[in-house]
Symmetry: C2
Subunit: 258 residues, 2 copies
DNA sequence: TGTACATCAGTGAACGCGCGTTCACTGATGTAC
DNA sequence: TGTACATCAGTGAACGCGCGTTCACTGATGTAC
């Protein structure tokens, strides 16, 4: 009758609810004040309970921070996925544009959370493995786009299949077709290996040069957003809307994504 | 006989020296521990003096932080300038590569200081005008390269002249020559205006499309460095040396700089 | 050159603050018989 | 259904910490006559 693993008793239900409420209060505090605002005491004050009570739910401040980081990665990943879905399946270039704009919109709406995951590391905090796993979610969106962008075009339209049981590395030094913008020769060895590993993880079968250009566009995207949010564009491309749109188009040509 | 504005009395000499020593101690603390390590008390401990004594030199913690920020901008600017100078005057592409590698090398060697100026803003700190002025220094290096990269090629080799007394805006919608990578039509209005202002400040006479592509490459550069330093490349392009070199080459083609 | 006064550097104690975390406790909820 | 016990949630006081900043002070350095 009952869902397995669902809370059975009232106590368990209350615990699950409060665990979530604490995290939400922490998220609000964090969004309002930034990294400094995240103190267990401030959260407990907002919830009207003793600060010591939080220790029944999160064993330390760092665990609460970890939960926030995971949520932030999940949120930006979900935003990108929704954008892709909205652009229609297999819509390579439109998908890229939609994803970029969605990522930026999320960042602008949640600057502190963006800074938490893409800004300077929080001092004294060491990100556990769990955060890395959720960080990949938004990167998978890039992978899907690169898979769509494959010059060969096969599987174009369908989402990238999950990695085969033991996928063989795609030929690393694989040269791009002639119509692509000039890349300077084949990839150097280590980079080719890294690109192959990335391809296996998020875009199986995609050649290393495309993966690498995708990574370049990816770092451009986040560099641009960080510059915008952290005030580095004041006095130049500020407000950044048109610059952002132009850059995203240019990077679509650069990868290239069609 | 004495240099004007130079300290005359022993007291003034001692004051100038201690002001510098305090800043250096703060810089060391900061480099070692990061933003959290910068406390007046920690600095005073390292110097073996009472914490209250620092107030004779810096009126508050924020003023000391401001001094560090200015120094960091100056250091990264100087590194880029030295790289350009080492590559020889007017060496467009080689200059670009040298500057990019120098900027990255400085960032890798001084990760906390890099995070201070290009990472998330320090909570509760509002950067005064003075920091903005020194932030421009490294950007001027980009401007010089873009001036060298002008398709027309005039003034190629010589550094960009200072802005004329009342410089006219270069034609904003100016179309790039045919051999450039495709830009999607002319720049939108606001972006063209912003690019013109940037051109006036750091690369007079350079068309808006080149300025814009330079900014795109610039954000790519800093996005890539931030990803490397902040751990976002773990599991993909890590170590980042080859990826960095490849990206810098690709961006040289993209701008394009010759 | 010597004296009287003003200026400044540096001290040490103190204020008030907020933090993370621990601990013994009380009262409510759940469980076994 | 009722009772006896175990488990758990939440409290409030406390510990120990480090911080930025202020303030009255003493002693040294500089200056005016």
């Amino acid at each position: 009758m009952t869902t397995p693993n669902a809370p059975r008793t009232a106590r368990e239900r209350a615990r699950a609810e409060l665990t979530r409420e604490i995290k939400e209060a922490a998220r609000r505090q964090f969004a309002a004040v930034g990294a400094d605002g995240l103190s267990l005491r401030a959260v407990s004050r907002e919830l009207g309970m003793a600060s010591s009570a939080l220790y029944r739910y999160y064993p330390s401040r760092d665990d609460l921070l970890t939960a926030l980081i995971i949520d932030a990665y999940d949120a930006i990943g979900a935003a990108a996925e929704a954008a892709i879905a909205g652009a229609g399946p297999g819509s390579g270039r439109a998908g890229w544009m939609a994803a970029c704009h969605a990522i930026r919109a999320w960042a602008v709406a949640n600057p502190h959370e963006y800074a938490l995951i893409y800004g300077s590391p929080v001092p004294g905090y060491r990100a556990p493995q769990a955060t890395i796993a959720s960080a990949i979610r938004v990167v998978r969106v890039l992978g899907g786009l690169l898979a769509d962008a494959r010059p060969e075009g096969r599987d174009g339209g369908r989402p990238a299949p999950p990695p085969a049981p033991a996928p063989a590395h795609p030929a690393p030094g694989h040269l791009p077709p002639a119509h692509l913008p000039p890349a300077r020769g084949p990839l150097p060895r280590d980079l080719a290996e890294q690109a192959a590993i990335v391809a296996d993880a998020i875009a199986p079968g995609v050649p290393g040069t495309v993966i690498t250009r995708g990574l370049i566009a990816w770092t451009q995207l986040f560099g641009m957003i960080s510059f915008e949010l952290f005030g580095q564009l004041v006095g130049s491309a500020d407000p950044a809307d048109e610059f952002f749109g132009f850059a995203v188009e240019a990077m679509a040509d650069f990868i290239p994504v069609r």
